[in-house]
């Protein structure tokens, strides 16, 4: 008899230990998940389930107003949030991680400092920046004027052209610690001999970064990108704090989660549940579908590089 077997719990006892967690999980997670799938296939009158309508709610979502306009617009904004996060947040994170990697001293201190905004609630972060960017007393505009950049100072959140970029930058400010820590760990795990070999062969530091380090980081870059995609598609508290539930100004900061929230709880439409469940399912399918495609594509890129 193996040692492992002696410690095994008899199945009935194990089930007893499992019971509280299983009950809680079944009632508040599994049951809602299962019913949610059916919600979108029915028409609703307020909170009363009406007739089975097949995919009518999805058709309505893409063909009737205001959804037909708002859905693609919100989706486009989520896509821009993702692109912005990849360009700003993940490259700044990589740059800082790379700089810290070649600088042993104070590395811990800098990591902690850069990760601080990540500990604050995203809602607090959003509201904080709405105050900092205020045209009335905002320190950001005041600082710009103080250094003579009066022309740059503007009502950042009041202008539809700049509001979404504010969302991108505020999100990046909060999240930069995430790519920083992940890339930092990955750089630490690389074999220093490879870089030394490149150095002996006469590669400049720029060449070493682009042709040696970056390809080796590809698997981690893939993972960070997929997670960034998921977070960008589900962005909620920061857009809510900066633009309210309607994505002001003029829908410039509207995203999928806000569209879902408005449709489900503030639209007043009698079929609110049917339509909003369709929104949630579209969002879910996009997240799962693109994440899977992304992962496969990155794996192929990786194989080509190594």
């Amino acid at each position: 008899m193996s040692r492992r077997r002696t410690a095994a719990l008899p199945t009935p006892v194990a089930l007893l230990f499992l019971l509280p967690a299983a009950a809680l999980f079944a009632v508040f997670v599994l049951y809602p998940m299962a019913t949610a799938l059916t919600y979108s296939l029915f028409s609703w009158r307020g909170t009363a389930q009406d007739a089975f309508v097949g995919l009518d709610n999805f058709v309505a979502l893409f063909t009737t107003e205001p959804y037909a306009t708002q859905l693609p617009r919100a989706f486009g904004h989520n896509a821009l949030l993702f692109a912005g996060a990849m360009v700003v947040q993940n490259s700044v994170g990589l740059l800082l991680a790379y700089a810290l990697h070649h600088r042993g001293r104070l590395r811990r201190l800098f990591q902690v400092l850069y990760t601080m905004p990540y500990l604050v609630s995203p809602l607090v972060v959003g509201y904080l920046w709405s105050l900092l960017l205020s045209p009335l007393f905002g320190p950001v505009n005041a600082a710009l004027r103080a250094v003579g950049l009066d022309a740059v100072a503007q009502p950042w959140l009041g202008d539809p052209d700049s509001a979404l970029w504010v969302v991108v930058l505020v999100t990046a400010w909060q999240w930069v610690g995430f790519p920083l820590l992940v890339y930092g760990a990955a750089l630490g795990a690389l074999d220093p001999a490879i870089e030394e070999a490149a150095m002996l062969d006469g590669a400049t530091s720029r060449q070493r970064f682009w042709h040696v380090t970056l390809p080796l980081l590809m698997p981690v870059i893939g993972t960070v990108s997929v997670l960034t995609f998921i977070f960008s598609m589900e962005a909620f508290p920061i857009p809510y704090a900066l633009g309210g539930s309607s994505g002001s100004p003029a829908g410039a900061t509207d995203v999928m989660s806000l569209l879902f929230y408005r449709t489900a709880f503030h639209s007043g439409a009698s079929n609110a549940i049917g339509i909003s469940s369709a929104v949630a399912i579209v969002l879910f399918l996009v997240i799962v579908g693109i994440s899977v495609l992304f992962t496969q594509w990155f794996r192929r890129v990786e194989r080509r590089l190594t």
Partner: protein, 269 residues
Amino acid sequence: MRRAAVSTLLWGYAAVALLPLLIMVWNSFRTDQELVVEPLGLPHSPSLDAYREAWVEASFSTYFLNSVLVTTLSVLLSTAVSLLAAYALARSRSRLMTVIEQVFVSGLMMPVFLMIVPIFYLLDMIGLASTRTGLILVYSAVSIPFSVFVLATFLRQLPVDLEDAARIDGAGPLRTFWSVLLPLVRPAVATVVVFRFVPIWNDFFYPLILVRDRAQYTLPVGLTTFFGEYQTSWSTLFAGLVIATLPLVVLFLVATRQIVAGLTAGMGR
């Protein structure tokens, strides 16, 4: 020269990361008057008026208490049930358990937008709509995947000899769990507590939708109504943000020590 450039970059970004947080703190000690006249100034004569206003007039005392209650009880309940479940999963060899564990862990990818409407009606159906109890049950349930995953992984790494010895001495499964395993898993429990406390304390989505009664609001939802009502009382707004953030700072100061102590205690054995 290159070294100097790297140093500038590192210290420069440190300022970018920290300055907004520092401004949040010191503006909460200034008056609205000072904020308008001198947007970049430091507090001359620090005043606690903004905190008094937020805490008393803007009901932050209520929101704060609700947040403490909801977060603490959610973390306690989810950690307790997850620990029992993790013990069963780590120490049973039945195939059924493998399936159950996979169901739990699949919850790590929960689509919250998909689940929220059914949860809303479920709470309504069982009479827990707009209550702190309802919120606690939901938070506990959604915390299970992460907590079970971490605790079961940790339990699998513990040697079974001690449990064998306890069993030979005549201890039942519950007794073994309580007296032998519980002291050993303390570091993992500390990790789970900290890593669930932060997102639940900061969460805004569930209470925004599930809680309609202002007396039951947690801090994040409280903040949204507060920002609507105190639009022009800026220093009060800064104070509100500081109040919502402070407990996390305290938790990190306390918990780092606890986690480190737990880890070193484990190493001594």
